[in-house]
Amino acid sequence: MTNDTQAIHPLWLRATHWLNALAVLILAMSGWRIFNASPFFDFRFAKEITLGGWLGGAIQWHFAAMWLLAANGLVYLLCNGGSGRLWVRFFPLSPRAIFADLRAAFRGHLSHADPRQYNAAQRAAYLFVTVDAVLLVLSGLVLWKSVQFPLLRELLGGYETARRVHFFAMTALIAFVVVHLAMVALVPRTLLTMIRGR
């Protein structure tokens, strides 16, 4: 316990982070194979980066990992909200601060001196990806069970619109992952922090 209270990232956060990473990897790769079965844009994802082999296999992976994403995401939200970490780490947050930190980041002036503090750009990015993941789950529910969730279906503009929402939410998530990994490569210490907590 002492270790945990001293940790920059508590154990529950590290556990949910890595389980989420696994779920996202499986869901994205199998989702690309599912997209390939009936693409609504004029391209297909390379077979080598998809999971499941054929459509049925990809759906099995997708509909297994969705439980991991949803359950793990729920644990994360409950712990983050319940422990008060959400308010301490992510707020206050203003558009002006986000803009200022983004500008500093692009000039290479943004410091990571204190890993306990998220800068405004980090706060915005992590909050964005949280909301994006919720949108992925909700639009996914409409695709899976469009008849059984009529309110959600209509809110997302019907089945066909929900397909696009799901796709663009995936694209946004992948864009986040790319930036996230680039940042970790620039400040490798953050990877250690996410593994051992300190």
Binding site: A37, E48, L51, G52, G53, A64, P150
Partner: protein, 258 residues
């Protein structure tokens, strides 16, 4: 002529399906093993000491069975699929089957008989004229394919729950199974069979059901994905023995609901 395969000639539905399942098990298994673990899948699992494809397959299958249960629990028998104005019908409505359009089966209307067996009181075989004489209704609903695409169509025919009560089906049974002239087979849960929008379909867009959409009769369920909607149905049986399905036995989710 209806091309009757040997297993369709048998009378005992459950035994027939059991045999079919036994036959299909091996090729399905091979296909799954070939397909389920791609380069991506292997690289994903390379962190593990042992890549046991068999146990991965079993785990995914058991999650799929779990998803059947969740869908059965989520299914609301009174929740209707949305209906649309005729102006929104997709034209032309896409053809889809496990074979190409050049292999569409031609079923002869005069010699057609619909077998009804299993847990039913009235086991007489129905002619097409008898089916057409039953009260008809129609619906404009969205067909959603497991591949992701969807299309809106207009189907007409006999409400399936009416048909089931007419033949004295035991509606406490778990499954209703279907065998088709194109050697397709599938099965559904009883609550979906009794859903008010589940239709023994005899017509498409006001015309007799054309061969490409399953002449003379298909089952239309706007609460299930396309592969759960069998075409060219020759035999219907009510049973408590899990009958599986053509795609389901290869790994598609059995409930397949939307």
């Amino acid at each position: 002529m209806i091309r009757k395969s040997p297993r369709l000639a048998a009378v005992d539905g459950a035994a027939v399906v059991k045999e079919a399942l036994r036959r299909i098990e091996q090729p399905a298994r091979r296909r799954f093993l070939q397909g389920s673990l791609t380069l991506g899948g292997l690289s994903l699992l390379s962190g593990c000491a042992i890549v046991d494809e068999d146990s991965v397959e079993r785990a995914l299958m058991s999650v799929s069975r779990f998803n059947d249960k969740v869908q059965g629990w989520l299914f609301d028998p009174r929740q209707l699929a949305p209906t649309y104005p005729e102006s929104m019908i997709t034209r032309p409505f896409p053809f889809n089957a496990y074979y190409g359009e050049d292999e569409i089966r031609q079923v002869d209307a005069d010699s057609y008989r619909l077998e009804v067996t299993g847990m039913v009181a009235d086991r007489h075989a129905w002619t097409l004229a008898e089916l057409q004489a039953l009260p008809q209704t129609d619906q404009v609903t969205r067909h959603i394919c497991v591949e992701g695409w969807s299309a809106i169509g207009k189907w007409g025919g006999v409400t399936f729950s009416d048909f089931l009560s007419r033949v004295g089906a035991d509606t406490s049974a778990k499954y209703v199974g279907f065998k088709c002239a194109d050697d397709y087979y599938t099965s559904i849960d009883m609550p979906t069979a009794l859903h008010p929008q589940t239709l023994l379909t005899l017509s498409y867009d006001g015309q007799p059901l054309p061969p490409r959409y399953g002449f003379p009769m298909k089952l239309r369920m706007p609460t299930k994905l396309g592969y759960k909607n069998p075409k060219h149905i020759q035999a219907i049986f009510v049973t408590n023995t899990y009958p599986g399905g053509y795609w389901e036995d290869q790994g598609y989710n059995w409930f397949g609901g939307s």
